[in-house]
C-alpha cells in the first residue's frame, strides 16, 4: 500500500506540466477559439510527449506505462485546458493504427442503448481519421465521412467544435464487447483525470484572486464567505483526485477492486468537482468572473462538456448503483 505518486509518476507529471506551460500557455490555447480544426503542430507536440502512446507496449511504439501514469498526464492536460480529442485518441491507440503516433485523431462515441434518444454529439469531427463506436456488441470503427453529421455553430465550449449525429451506422466490428467495456472504462477514468486537473486549476485561480483583489481596504480572501468557497474547492478537488488515482490504479491492479465501479465513482466526483469549482471560481471573481477576460468560464464550459460526455452525473451514479 503506497498511495503517493512514485518518483517516476511525479517526474512524468512535472515534465507534462512544463510541456503544457511552454506549448499550451492559455493565450495560445485561447487563440484557437472558434476554430473548427485541431492545430496540427500542437497535436504533434502532444504525440511527441507520448500522450497517446504511453500505455502501448514498447514493441508497439509505446512506453509500456500503466493507467496511473496516464492519469497524472491527463490531469496536467486538463489543468492547461489543452483542446482536442485527447482521451478518445489515447484509448483508441490500441486499436486504431496511427493514433498513438499522432497521425490519426480518433473520436469515441458511446452508442445509446436501444430506445434511448439520439442525437449524439461528437467533437472535433473535421480533424478525425476514425470514429470508434462502443456498444454492447463491441467496438465498431467508422470513417468519419460515413457519419451523417451536422455542425453545431455555437457549442458550449469555444475551444471544442461539435457535430450532431442523427443516426449512427453499424460499422465494422474491430474488437469484442470486453474490449468495448475496457475502452469506455479507461475513457471514464482519464476524462475524470482531465476534470480533476480543471478542478485544481480553478481552485488555484480563485485563491490567487482572493489574495489580490481588495475591497473594504482588505483582500477579499480575508472574508469568511470567500474563504469557505475556496476551502470547499480544495476539498472537492483533493477527494476527487484520490478517487481518480485509485480508479487508475485499480485498472492496473485488477485484484484490488471493481475498476468500472471505481471509474464511475471517480468520474462522478470529478465531474462535480470541476463544475462546482468552476462556478465557485466565477463567483469569487465577481463581475470579472462573468466576462471573457478571466478564463474561469472556459473551465466551466469544458467541465460541463467533458462531464456530459461521461453520461452526466446521474448516469454515472446509475453505473455505481447497478453494481451495488
Amino acid at each position: 500500500m503506497d498511495f503517493e505518486l512514485s518518483d517516476d509518476e511525479a517526474a512524468l507529471a512535472e515534465a507534462m506540466r512544463r510541456m503544457c506551460q511552454s506549448r499550451f500557455p492559455l493565450e495560445r490555447v485561447r487563440a484557437g477559439e472558434g476554430r473548427r480544426v485541431v492545430d496540427a503542430d500542437q497535436w504533434r507536440a502532444l504525440a511527441e510527449a507520448g500522450v497517446f502512446s504511453l500505455r502501448l507496449a514498447e514493441d508497439d511504439g509505446g512506453a509500456g506505462l500503466g493507467t496511473a501514469h496516464a492519469a497524472v498526464v491527463f490531469e496536467e492536460l486538463g489543468r492547461a485546458l489543452v483542446p482536442g480529442p485527447l482521451v478518445a485518441t489515447h484509448v483508441a491507440a490500441r486499436i486504431v493504427k496511427g493514433a498513438g503516433t499522432g497521425e490519426q485523431l480518433v473520436g469515441l462515441v458511446h452508442r445509446p442503448p436501444m430506445g434511448r434518444v439520439l442525437p449524439v454529439v461528437v467533437a472535433d469531427l473535421a480533424s478525425l481519421g476514425a470514429v470508434l463506436v462502443v456498444d454492447e456488441q463491441g467496438v465498431h470503427q467508422l470513417p468519419p465521412e460515413a457519419l451523417e453529421a451536422e455542425p453545431i455553430d455555437h457549442g458550449l465550449d469555444p475551444l471544442t467544435p461539435l457535430w450532431r449525429l442523427a443516426t449512427i451506422p453499424e460499422g465494422a466490428v474491430v474488437a469484442d464487447a470486453g474490449t468495448a467495456r475496457e475502452l469506455w472504462r479507461d475513457h471514464l477514468v482519464l476524462s475524470a483525470a482531465l476534470l480533476v486537473g480543471m478542478a485544481s486549476a480553478v481552485a488555484e485561480l480563485a485563491t490567487e484572486y482572493a489574495k489580490q483583489r481588495r475591497q473594504f481596504d482588505r483582500p477579499i480572501g480575508s472574508f469568511q464567505a470567500v474563504k469557505h468557497l475556496c476551502a470547499d474547492m480544495l476539498v472537492r478537488a483533493e477527494t476527487a483526485r484520490a478517487s481518480v488515482h485509485a480508479a487508475a490504479v485499480t485498472i492496473d491492479q485488477p485484484d484490488v477492486g471493481d475498476a468500472l465501479r471505481a471509474g464511475a465513482g471517480a468520474a462522478l466526483l470529478a465531474s462535480d468537482a470541476a463544475v462546482a469549482n468552476a462556478k465557485a471560481c466565477i463567483q469569487v471573481h465577481g463581475g470579472m468572473g462573468f466576462t471573457w477576460e478571466v478564463p474561469a468560464h472556459l473551465y466551466l464550459m469544458r467541465a460541463a462538456l467533458v462531464s456530459r460526455g461521461l453520461g452526466r452525473a446521474q448516469r454515472l451514479a446509475e453505473v455505481v448503483a447497478e453494481r451495488l
Binding site: 500500500m1 483582500p219 480575508s222 469568511q224 476551502a231 480544495l234 483533493e238 478517487s243 465513482g265 448503483a321
Partner: protein, 386 residues
C-alpha cells in the same frame, strides 16, 4: 502508487477478522452513555487488551503490537466490519495517547498508557468552556501555584463520556498576563479529586454521557503537567490534529455505514421500488464519498509513513467525513420512510435514527466545520486572516 496490501498485512487482517468474529459481544452492548452500558464497554476494552487488540499500533511495552499506521487502518476496517462496540476509551487511546507519545515523559507514559489501553482508566477531554468554544484560546479556567502544586479552578464543558470517565485531559490558563495563545498549560486530572464536580448534560439524541465539569481548588502535582508549563496550546493542537484527521474517525466507520446503507437499499427496493429508484443515485453518491474518504486517508497515511506530518490538511478530512456521515444517515432515513421511527428495537432501524441524530453533531464537534474551512483557507491555501 500501489493499492495492494502486503502479505504481512493480509495475514494480520485475517488474524484480526478471526479474533473479532469470535469475540465481538452479541447481542449488542447497551448504550455507552448509560452507567451499565459504560461498564459493559469498559469490560470489552479489557477483553481486547488481554488479547492485545486494543491498541495495535502502540509499542508492546504499553500493551500494543508495535504495528504501523496501515495495520491500524486495516484493524479499523475489520473492527467496523463486524460492527464491534464503540470504543469507550477513544478519547484516551486516539486523542491523548498520540500527544503522550509526543510530549510525555517516560514516567508519564509508563503511568498512563497501560491502564488507558486496558480500559481501567477512561479519559475525557476538557477543552471547551461556556465562553470558549470555537475561540478556544479564550479559556479562563485557571491553574495557580499553591503549596508546591497546581491549584485548578473554573469550568469545562462538552466533555464526551465525562459523566462516567475516570480522568480528564484539559487546558488551563497558567499565565493570565501572557498573550492568549501562550500562558496555557496541559493538565491530566483525575475526576475523583477533591473539588471536582461532574454534571451530566442531556444531548439532542437524548443521551446524557456528556458532562460539564467544575473545578474548585483542585490540587494537581507537577507530574500531571503534559509538555512544558505555559506551552499547552502547542500540545493541544497536536491532539486536535488527531481528532480531526486520522485517528478519531477512521474511514472504516463510514465505509461500513455506507455498506449497511447499500444492504438497506437492496432490502427496501422490492417493497418500495419508487422510493428506491428515487434514492439510488443518493445511495451511490454516499458509497463513492465514503470510499473517497478512505482513499484520501490512505494517501495521508502514505505521506505520514514517508516522514510527512498531518497538519492543517486534517481539517479537510474533518469537513468531508462529517458531511459524508450526515448524507449516509439521512439517505437511510429517507429509504426507511416512516419505518425509521415506527419499527421496534429488534429490527434495529432505530440504529439509523440514532446514527442520524449523532451525525448532526459531526459538523460541530472537533471544531465546527466553519472553523475548519477557515483553517483550510488560511493554513493550506494561505488566504489572509481577518
Amino acid at each position: 502508487m500501489d493499492l495492494r496490501f502486503g502479505d504481512e498485512q493480509e495475514r494480520f487482517r485475517r488474524e484480526a477478522r478471526s479474533w473479532l468474529e469470535s469475540n465481538v459481544p452479541s447481542p449488542k452492548l447497551p448504550s455507552l452513555d448509560t452507567p451499565e452500558g459504560f461498564e459493559a464497554h469498559r469490560a470489552w476494552e479489557r477483553t481486547m487488551f488481554e488479547a492485545r487488540w486494543s491498541v495495535v499500533s502502540w509499542p508492546e511495552r504499553y500493551g500494543g503490537r508495535g504495528l504501523g499506521l496501515l495495520e491500524w487502518l486495516v484493524f479499523e476496517e475489520e473492527y467496523y466490519r463486524v460492527q464491534a462496540p464503540t470504543r469507550v476509551g477513544q478519547n484516551g487511546i486516539f486523542l491523548l495517547a498520540p500527544t503522550l507519545f509526543e510530549f510525555g515523559t517516560d514516567e508519564q507514559k509508563d503511568r498512563y498508557l497501560p491502564p488507558m489501553a486496558s480500559g481501567e482508566e477512561i479519559w475525557c477531554q476538557g477543552w471547551s468552556e461556556p465562553d470558549a468554544g470555537s475561540d478556544l484560546a479564550a479559556i479562563r479556567s485557571r491553574a495557580e501555584r499553591g503549596g508546591g502544586d497546581w491549584v485548578l479552578s473554573g469550568q469545562k464543558t462538552w466533555c464526551s463520556r465525562g459523566a462516567f470517565a475516570d480522568w480528564l485531559f484539559g487546558l488551563f490558563r497558567t499565565d493570565p498576563e501572557a498573550e492568549r495563545h501562550r500562558g496555557l498549560t496541559y493538565f491530566l486530572v483525575p475526576l475523583d479529586a477533591p473539588g471536582v464536580t461532574v454534571r451530566p448534560i442531556a444531548q439532542l439524541d437524548g443521551e446524557t454521557g456528556f458532562a460539564e465539569v467544575f473545578f474548585e481548588d483542585v490540587v494537581v502535582p507537577d507530574a500531571q503537567v503534559l509538555g512544558e508549563v505555559h506551552e499547552g496550546w502547542g500540545v493541544a493542537m497536536a491532539t486536535a490534529g488527531s481528532e480531526r484527521g486520522l485517528s478519531l474517525r477512521s474511514p472504516a466507520r463510514y465505509t461500513e455505514a455506507a455498506g449497511r446503507l447499500e444492504s438497506l437499499y437492496h432490502q427496501r427496493a422490492g417493497d418500495h421500488p419508487a422510493r428506491a429508484a428515487r434514492l439510488g443515485d443518493a445511495v451511490a453518491r454516499c458509497l463513492v464519498d465514503a470510499e473517497a474518504y478512505r482513499l484520501h486517508t490512505y494517501w495521508t497515511a502514505t505521506k505520514v509513513l514517508a516522514g510527512g506530518q498531518v497538519g492543517a490538511e486534517a481539517s479537510m478530512n474533518k469537513v468531508f467525513w462529517s458531511e459524508t456521515d450526515l448524507a449516509i444517515q439521512r439517505t437511510a432515513l429517507e429509504l426507511l420512510g416512516a419505518d425509521a421511527e415506527l419499527l421496534d428495537e429488534e429490527d434495529r432501524p432505530g440504529a439509523w435514527l440514532d446514527g442520524y441524530l449523532f451525525a448532526l453533531a459531526g459538523p460541530i464537534y472537533a471544531g465546527t466545520n466553519e472553523i475548519q474551512r477557515n483553517v483550510v483557507a488560511e493554513r493550506v491555501l494561505g488566504l489572509p486572516r481577518p
